[in-house]
């Protein structure tokens, strides 16, 4: 029984990664590299790296936190790569081999060199991640419609054509999504 619980705690679900975490990771990456194409590539690389490192997943952190740690490393690698030709690369890693964290992900102990100054920027990024987290809890179709309408700014007609729904269905879905989001974000942000 204990063994079974332990095995479940260590389990990864890569087949759900794109649906559950892609947008969350994408927002994190865009905020740091300021380029949607590069950010998309970094998210894809993060998923591949996650698959390759799956055997190292110890279940200490949530799946998403673990993927963010990998992405953080990918962002560092990205900057190191583009700066290396100019001899500008400088990445400081303070790995404490004597602590209890020995053998853990290095990324978890790396001071983020791309942290931004300014409380409002940080707050807006936290807000964005909080919204993405709440969106990831919505039913898939509601999340899809909300994203297309609110974030991508698509027209009602285009969304209806793409998803094969009528405008009335669309507004019901958006309304339900927004009501759930208000509840999800209520305590911290309202």
């Amino acid at each position: 029984m204990v063994l079974l619980k332990t095995m479940v705690a260590y389990e990864l679900h890569p087949e759900k990664w794109v649906d559950q975490y892609a947008d969350y990771l994408f927002n994190y990456a865009v905020a740091r590299v300021s380029d949607a194409e590069i950010a998309k590539d970094l998210v894809q690389e993060t998923f591949f790296a996650g698959l390759n490192s799956a055997k190292n997943y110890k279940g200490d952190a949530a799946e998403r936190t673990w993927l963010i740690a990998i992405l953080k490393r990918k962002v560092i690698d990205h900057y190191r790569k583009i700066n290396s030709k100019k001899g500008k690369a400088e990445v400081r890693i303070n790995y404490n081999a004597s602590s209890d964290a020995e053998g853990d992900w290095l990324e978890e102990q790396v001071a983020d060199p791309f942290s931004k100054d300014g409380a409002s920027t940080i707050e807006n990024e936290e807000l964005g991640m909080a919204i993405q987290e709440c969106i990831s809890k919505l039913p898939k179709k509601q999340a899809m419609v909300f994203n297309m309408k609110t974030i991508q700014g698509m027209s009602t007609e285009d969304i209806c054509n793409e998803l094969g729904i009528n405008p009335s269905n669309l507004w019901v879905m958006i309304h339900r999504a927004r009501t759930t989001l208000m509840g999800c974000m209520n305590q911290t942000w309202f």
Binding site: A22, F26, A36, F47, F190
Partner: protein
């Protein structure tokens, strides 16, 4: 003119995207004047819109996600 509470809330959401017709806006405004609960909901709905704007959210398109899924499946 009379609409249900749920319909009023839906119209409130639609108005957040600037897509409510003048008739729907009229129905909504009358409802909001009459029912405090709907006014509270409207305030929260406006706040959500402002938070989404402030957060400068980004998302991958469905086709990009599908392509990402296919690539990932090849490695599974």
């Amino acid at each position: 003119m009379k609409i249900s509470r749920e319909k009023a809330k839906e119209l409130c959401t639609k108005s957040q995207y600037g897509e409510a017709t003048w008739w729907e806006l009229l129905q909504l405004n009358v409802y909001v004047l009459l029912f405090k609960e709907c006014a509270d909901f409207s305030a929260k709905n406006r706040k959500l819109t402002s938070l989404c704007d402030k957060a400068n959210l980004n998302t991958l398109s469905e086709s990009e996600k599908e392509s990402m899924k296919k690539d990932l499946e090849k490695h599974l």
